[in-house]
């Protein structure tokens, strides 16, 4: 019996997840020894037809990163689903929508018009907007349809496991690969990361005051951040309390609050709504009896873009998923 076959694929993503695989450093050699990579567009020259030629279920596991918003992405992930035993949503975008998911506060028309027509740097006098089909001299050329809504991978195909993070850290990737190789996998649908939120492992958790309150909201560029004090206690919104740990506090250690790329924990279905609840509860809590409604409004003005902040990574996986179309 040959080595298990593995595929990597990317959808709407930045490429960072591909980079994360390379970041495995010498561990990549172990992986390459143990498996047979049969499809990896960013690094290896296999074509779609090669995948189509495989038997259904021939690929042991496909690691798919990126969110889904074009016809081509749908076609490819459906194909990989058919050909794979396991599908792992790799990274925040495939898992919960990620940064591309913020586009759900807009729509395809707005995005195409802005990008191809309205921006000051665009030189497009005829106002041509990309079309799925365009007649040219030699015939017709096609482009994949650009969807109105960004979706997570599991909103398009069945997903077996999730590797969270932007990008997933090497230790979690290796842990997942080893678990697959050894066949020691948790129940289907599991997120392959710790069950607790970031505060559990955060070194700043113990620096919190006994009663955690936020007098007012500060944004990271507005203050000199104390690297040794919980960011919430400094008035900075940190999504750590609501966000799954396992990232190694990369942002915290770089003196930046958590932005939630690992997604929610527990029985939370809406990451953004949950952290909103926590922040609103502790904001202006000291002497709250004396705070007028007008003062509450002023306090809340400190959160300039609540949707963008609380759903920075999780908008497509939220309950509302996107802005209502007009």
């Amino acid at each position: 019996m040959g080595k298990p076959k593995v595929a990597f694929y990317w959808c709407a993503s930045c490429g960072g997840c591909e980079e994360a695989v390379v970041d495995l450093a010498e561990d990549i050699l172990t992986v390459v020894d143990a498996v047979d990579i049969v499809f990896w567009p960013v690094a290896m020259d296999f074509k779609k037809k090669d995948v189509q030629a495989m038997d259904d279920g021939a690929i042991a596991v496909s690691f798919i990163n990126g969110a889904v918003r074009t016809d081509e992405q749908v076609e490819m992930v459906e194909l990989l689903r058919k050909k794979s035993g396991l599908v792992v949503a790799f990274g925040a975008c495939a898992h919960i929508g990620g940064i591309p998911g913020l586009a759900n506060f807009s729509n395809s028309k707005e995005i195409l018009n802005t990008l191809y027509r309205d921006l000051d740097t665009v030189d497009n006098k005829e106002g041509v907007i990309p079309q799925t089909r365009t007649k040219v001299k030699s015939g017709e050329v096609t482009l994949p349809r650009f969807h109105n809504t960004v979706k997570t991978l599991d909103q398009v195909i069945d997903v077996d496991y999730y590797l969270p993070g932007c990008a997933p850290p090497p230790d979690l990737i290796m842990g997942a690969i080893n678990a697959i190789l050894k066949g020691e996998l948790p129940p289907k649908g599991s997120v392959l990361a710790p069950e607790k939120s970031l505060c559990d492992s955060c070194r700043l958790n113990k620096t919190k005051p006994e009663k955690l309150t936020m007098k007012e909201i500060k944004r990271p560029h507005e203050i000199k951040i104390d690297p040794d004090l919980c960011f919430l206690a400094q008035g900075l919104i940190c999504l750590g309390p609501a966000t799954r740990s396992g990232c190694g506090e990369r942002c915290i250690n770089a003196n930046m609050p958590c932005r939630g790329c690992f997604g929610p924990v527990g029985n939370v279905v809406d990451h953004g709504a949950k952290i909103l609840s926590s922040i609103a509860s502790i904001l202006g809590m000291e002497n709250e009896e004396a705070v007028t409604e007008e003062e509450v409004d002023i306090l809340l003005d400190g959160i300039v873009d609540p949707g963008g902040l609380f759903y920075m990574y999780s908008l497509p996986s939220s309950l509302l998923k996107r802005k209502k179309s007009d």
Binding site: F105, S108, K109, H147, N148, T149, V268, V269, D270, G272, A273, K274, L276, S277, I279, A280, S281, L283, G284, M285, E288, E289, V291, E293, V296, D297, L299, L300, I303, D305, P306, G307, G308, F310, S318, L319, L320, K321, R322, K323, K324, S325, D326
Partner: protein, 141 residues
């Protein structure tokens, strides 16, 4: 067929639920298109649950707590105030009309007010119609 509106009213046990009972006892006539979910304190309600109500088909959500200073649990209603205010700002970003989520204070003896607040909510929501969230599930260009 014209559909009846569906309003979820979250009531706290001590003030607003007792106020709703007071409305009943006083036979204050209220439009019937609302369902009360009772919790001990309005602060138990979190934005996730409110969004779930919309998601499950509520046309509107009304959160009713004790008047400021009257919270049975000292200060739960102040948290409710901030949570609902912030959630309303966020719902606006999702294009959800401001009138669909409302917060008010009703004390246990304010049956009249309970009726007024609920009737007004139902009237306003009837004008807006159902909150159709299917757009997020279906592909619309």
């Amino acid at each position: 067929m014209k559909k009846d509106p569906k309003i979820i009213v979250f009531c706290c046990n001590w003030c607003s639920y007792a106020g709703a009972d007071n409305a009943g006892v006083a036979k204050v006539q209220i439009k019937p298109h609302f369902r009360i979910i009772r919790t001990m304190c309005s602060s138990r309600i979190d934005p996730e649950l409110i969004i779930e109500a919309f998601k499950k088909g509520a046309w509107g959500v009304l959160v009713l707590g004790c008047h400021p200073g009257d919270c049975h649990y000292k200060n739960g209603n102040y948290k409710t105030l901030r949570k609902v205010k912030l959630l309303k700002r966020m719902l606006a970003q999702f294009g959800i009309e401001d009138d669909r989520l409302r917060l008010d204070w009703v004390s246990s003896n304010e049956g009249e007010k309970f009726g007024k607040v609920v009737n007004k909510m139902i009237d306003d929501i009837e004008k807006l119609g159902p909150l159709d969230l299917s757009y997020a599930e279906t592909e619309v260009e």
